[in-house]
Amino acid sequence: MIKVQNLTKTFVSHIKEPGLKGSLKALVKREKKTKEALKSINLEIKQGEIIGLIGANGAGKTTLVKILSGIVHPTSGEATVLGFKPWERQNEYRKQMSLIMGQKAQVWWDLPALDSFLLLKEIYQIPDKIYKNNIEFLADTLMVKDQLRTQVRKLSLGERMKIELMAALLHRPQVIFMDEPTIGLDLSSQRAVREFMKNYQKEFKPITILTSHYMEDIKELCPRVVIIKEGEFVFDGALSQIQRLLGDEKCLSVTTKENTFKVNVPRTELSTKTAEIFKTNEVLDLNIHDPSIEDVIESIMKHGMNPK
């Protein structure tokens, strides 16, 4: 169980005007700028629950994940995960927790995955038999059996992400933090990772917080969604609520000779609207995709769904 009460985090940074002159000025006198990454946040997640944490870049998603995984100390407020204060970094807590960051690798670059896994086995003191079973199970379901003996830096991005997932789940964590695990992956790899997480969640029921920039990830995996904007939660509720709000909308990105624009269109009117656009404009490019996270958030703010 995760319980967060009035959690606040402020970062202090210096402002520097551009150029050498600005640097000199900053050398003598520094103007401090504080940024509230999290503003008194409250959250409760039950055992076995998976939530999707979404928000624009810099909204505070990663900061929250880093506080809950014990990497960063909060400025004020309380948080307990499985009864532990994360930033006290007790081994009993760290043994049951795992963090996956799409942007940062945890396996050793110059070594085959199996070597890194051996080290993790030692770090987490995983018994031989469980270790063997886990490797087999994870490699099978992720379909990376043949990649385990290759140096990680020689693998493709998609394969590497699967290896990262394996590394993070070897010790069967009770709590999993996933920070943009599908970032930069091609569609089929994204799908594979999603599919895997779905089954894993069903089978082992860890507490999972997933942050993602892809609406698809959230739609597939998270029945509950929390939206964060400028350090505050603006929505905490069921995915179905968001979907109802958005209806079954698709987003059209159009590039014409004159300009580019975006329109949100209900799925049912997709063909008529597209035809209309083609008729009235000289279209150079047209993309049909899901509304972006930013669009979703904006839409929710506009429609004034009661923030919790």
């Binding site: 810099g58 900061t63 960063v72 081994n91 009993e92 760290r94 960051m101 940062k104 080290l119 030692e122």
Partner: protein
């Protein structure tokens, strides 16, 4: 403890398989180390052509001292230096994250992960030279004298590590690319001089504030002429304090770690 030993064996294993891959680097490093060695030994040899005593030590005694600091230095180069060299970039780029979530001391991980297999030859050479200086020592060597000497050298090695850490840790606040590690290497020359040449405030500086003289010079002095109780207490106090200060700064540093965002 046993677990940490096993982890270290993995580090060794990984580092060796990595080092084998870069052969040019491997040979080049050995060449550089040999030059560094010869220069150090020759420096004192040349000085002794003109005088019989330096800082009260004869050539033979001086060689024990040279052997001592070369040994400590090569141990440091092999065990710690590579790790601490990368330390600032771990902090500035936020790569520390994955060390902090493991149920293992992050300090252990960060300081020991990379064993510099390239420097191993250097370590063996300095060890050989060190033993040679002892074997060719003309006065008889007592058992207690030898054990005390080695213990003090191990202590010196840990002091060397602590000082280095204290030069690197400010990176948590300054976010500079190297910390004060360059300062460390320039001040480090003090380790390669007998402590008798430092007088006044400079002496206080190098025996108390940044105790480079305690690393090799004091152990060598213990071996050659013995240290009185006051000096031994001095070494113990300074070493323990330094260690505690380092751990304290490390703790504070982690509290203010902001983890560069991804």
């Amino acid at each position: 403890m046993k677990r940490y030993l096993r982890l270290y064996l993995y580090f060794l294993q990984f580092s060796f398989s990595k080092a084998m891959e870069f052969r040019v680097d491997f040979t080049f490093r050995i060449l550089m180390d040999v030059i560094y060695f010869v220069v150090n030994i020759l420096l004192f040899k040349v000085l002794f052509l003109h005088t019989d005593l330096i800082g009260g030590w004869t050539q033979e005694q001086m060689m024990v001292f040279v052997g001592s600091y070369l040994l400590v230095d090569s141990f440091n180069m092999t065990v710690f230096a590579t790790n601490l060299w990368w330390f600032p970039s771990y902090i500035n780029k936020g790569d520390l994250d994955y060390y902090l979530i493991r149920p293992v001391s992050p300090l252990f991980f960060l300081s020991l992960r990379e064993f510099s297999a390239n420097s191993l030859m250097n370590l063996l050479m300095s060890l050989a030279f060190f033993i040679y200086t002892l074997v060719s020592y003309s006065a008889p060597i007592g058992m207690g004298q030898l054990i005390g000497f080695i213990l003090l050298l191990i202590n010196g090695f840990l002091i060397y590590y602590c000082i280095q850490m204290l030069m690197v840790l400010p990176v948590f606040w300054t976010h500079s690319p190297r910390g004060f590690i360059d300062l460390f290497y320039s001040l480090g020359i003090a380790m390669e001089r007998p402590d008798r040449i430092f007088k006044g405030w400079l002496r206080i500086f190098f025996t108390v504030v940044i105790p480079f003289s305690l690393i090799a010079s004091y152990p060598a002095k213990y071996f050659i002429e013995g240290l009185d109780t006051a000096a031994l207490i001095h070494v113990t106090l300074v070493s323990v304090t330094l260690w505690l200060v380092m751990l304290y700064v490390w703790k504070k540093a982690l509290q203010s770690y902001s983890s560069a965002s991804s």
